[in-house]
């Protein structure tokens, strides 16, 4: 825009800075750590500073109010309408922020053994990742969204390389880097078309324009569809959906355990949230506008359906034949991505017509539950492994029940949760997703494909029990292969135990988390609200 009168710069600043104070705090802590790196900071100091940074970010997030955000429509003529600000603190924003902050704290503990080579840099990069994740949840502009996604991936390249001194570690860092660059380019190509077709980088404006520019038969213009598919491809890489999943097994296998634990979770959250924001599934303002890539007006949901089916089946099939534990977790993560795509699909059904669930709430819950279990598994691996006793194949877990009872008990909880046994968070998450898919009425264009998808998912969940159960059996029903060595790093054990407790607590009493997620992704209201009064 070329303004007639130059705006007051501080107006723009005021419009957004209040919404990102905790992220600013995180980045400030990261800068402090970078400074510390100049004077050779030790591990303990870095650890404490990182933790303090997270804690102060949490404090800021808790005590500084986000301000009252006028609903769309109240301030139509106002150029600083929050719906058109680069930051949108509504919707799932604060849920994602808290998720990022909790994850930040958890990963500070989890990185204890991995950060040895360069502790300040390691923790600083990690804090930037957390800030990026939080910003993904509140970006309301293509530019901000792209940059926050990069804030998640660029430090990750560094993190993957820093602790990895072995050849395979380098290899995994290289693979992730190259493929991530490729997927970024694809994503950007999609962004450029989305911007081009609508003339704005603002997500809200993009969605509003796309829902209106449909041709006579209600389908999207081709340019927008191409943009949508490219975005799906670029973000499919982050969530590790087939066929964009290729990097996951290799990187998980050879990457440093703590970082892989992060890689298994953070990009997934970022990817799903970005996808939801771009497709208008997750903002307090957008549901009223309709869906740019909904079931009725594009083939994208059908593509996602296919991707979901392939992803969950592929993940499970390859996980069954794995011997390497971390590789197994990679394929398991791919399968779980498939389950989560169900929720995104449900959300892309026409809102309001008998859909009792927004679908994204189920995804958010599942992300939280999946985070708990998968981070927990990697915490256990990181705790148990050491140079004398590397944990590579599943058989390396043999006898864990006797040598490391606490870690084994936590691991058992995670595996049960990954299987989806009742009274664990994993069960509630799966249940939530499946019921949401089942509830979708069959009179949409997709007919009863949601129900078919659920059947496929339930069968897949049953298959997945095979490999989790094998790990479980090896842990408890076999004698240890190597003499017991004491667990390395108490922080990881603490993480594992806390995650296990949370898994059980959220499994037995999921209501608080469910309330949060359904608040973060409310059921869309069907009636469109006129949000712009045309200028007379």
């Amino acid at each position: 825009m070329i303004p007639l009168t130059l705006p007051n710069f501080t107006d723009h600043l005021k419009a957004s800075i209040g919404y990102v104070l905790p992220e600013v705090t995180l980045v400030a802590a990261a800068c402090l750590l970078f400074l510390l790196a100049c004077v050779r900071g030790g591990r303990a100091v870095s650890f404490v500073i990182a933790l303090l940074g997270v804690a102060s970010a949490g404090t800021v997030a808790w005590f500084v109010p986000e301000g009252v955000v006028p609903r769309a429509g109240e301030a139509a003529a106002n150029a600083f309408n929050p719906a058109f600000a680069p930051i949108d603190p509504t919707g799932a924003a604060s849920f994602i922020r808290w998720m990022a902050l909790v994850a930040a704290a958890v990963y500070v503990f989890l990185g204890w053994t991995d950060c040895k080579t360069a502790p300040p840099e390691y923790y600083a990069c990690w804090l930037v990742v957390a800030a990026g994740l939080s910003l993904v949840g509140r970006s309301n502009d293509l530019v901000t969204l792209f940059l926050s996604l990069e804030m998640v991936s660029i430090p990750t390249y560094v993190l993957l390389y820093l602790p990895a001194v072995g050849k395979t570690g380098q290899e995994s860092a290289m693979k992730y880097f190259m493929l991530s660059v490729l997927s970024s380019a694809v994503l950007l190509f999609g962004f450029s078309y989305l911007y081009g077709i609508t003339g704005s980088t603002n997500l809200h404006a993009i969605i509003a324009a796309l829902t209106r520019t449909g041709t006579t038969d209600g389908s999207q213009p081709l340019l927008a569809v191409v943009g949508g598919v490219m975005v799906l491809g670029g973000l499919g890489f982050r969530v590790a959906a087939v066929p964009f999943h290729f990097y996951a097994p290799d990187v998980y296998e050879a990457g440093p355990t703590g970082v892989v634990g992060q890689l298994a979770f953070v990009p997934k959250v970022a990817g799903f949230v970005a996808l939801a924001r771009l497709f208008g599934l997750l903002s307090a303002h957008t549901p009223q506008l309709g869906l740019p890539f909904g079931v009725e007006n594009s083939l994208l949901p059908l593509s996602m359906w296919v991707i979901a089916v392939i992803t969950m089946s592929f993940g499970n099939l390859l996980a069954i034949i794995q011997d390497n534990l971390k590789r197994l977790m990679a394929y398991s993560g791919i399968a779980h991505t498939g389950y989560m795509l169900i929720g995104v699909l449900v959300a892309s059904a026409t809102p309001g017509e008998g859909v009792a669930r927004s679908g994204m709430d189920a995804v958010l819950f599942y992300l939280a539950a999946y985070g708990l279990m998968t981070v927990g598994v990697f915490a256990v691996i990181s705790h148990v492994e050491n140079p004398d006793r590397p944990v590579e194949s599943v058989d390396d877990l043999a006898g864990l029940g006797r040598t490391h009872p606490w870690a084994a008990a936590a691991m058992a909880v995670f595996l049960f949760s990954l299987i989806g046994l009742p009274l664990t968070a994993g069960f509630v998450g799966k249940f939530n997703l499946f019921v949401a898919a089942f509830e979708v009425p069959t009179d949409t264009k997709m007919r009863n494909m949601y129900q078919i998808l659920t059947v496929v998912a339930v069968v897949n969940a049953a298959i997945s029990a095979v490999y989790y159960l094998r790990a479980l059996g090896v842990m408890f029903l076999r004698a240890p292969l190597k003499p017991a060595t004491p667990g390395r790093g108490l922080p990881q054990l603490a993480v594992a135990v806390v995650c296990a407790l949370a898994t059980v607590v959220f499994g037995c009493w999921p209501q608080p988390l469910l309330a949060l997620t359904s608040k973060a992704a409310p059921v869309p209201t069907p009636a469109p609200i006129a949000y712009v009064t045309s200028t007379k």
């Binding site: 825009m1 070329i2 293509l142 530019v143 792209f146 940059l147 990069e150 660029i154 390249y157 560094v158 390389y161 050849k167 395979t168 380098q170 290899e171 995994s172 860092a173 290289m174 693979k175 880097f177 190259m178 660059v181 490729l182 970024s184 380019a185 950007l188 190509f189 962004f191 450029s192 078309y193 911007y195 081009g196 003339g199 704005s200 980088t201 097994p249 290799d250 296998e253 050879a254 011997d323 390497n324």
Partner: protein, 143 residues
Amino acid sequence: MITLWHFLGVGATLFALGLVGFLTRRNLITMFLCAELMLQGVVINLLAFGRFHGTLSGQAMGLFVITVAACEAGLAMALFLMLYRRGKTLDSGDWQQVRETGVPAATDAVPLPLPPADDEPKLPVPGLRPEQVAAPFPESSRA
């Protein structure tokens, strides 16, 4: 005055070329340059759309794309340097140690052509006495 579509065509072509290069060329540096080529295509798209809409958002976004590309380039340099130090090669195909068990490593069937015959004169290896050449002076005459 402006036809958007020509520029979009050029942008798409650059992007596709970069894609082909990324998929086929095995030198890591060339691969990375091809990725940058893709980003150039994206930037052309952005600027063309920006010009078309008469807004500056496109240019701003293009600027950020270039910034991020620069970040990636910096990291790529460091990463490739370390990879080269370890493996003495920049061939992306040499980094395939991590893969599914039981899947054979990809090898190249066709041998490389022999290096062309070298016509340039060879300098003797320093520090060794050239064998064929007889010493013009006796040992003692050297200072």
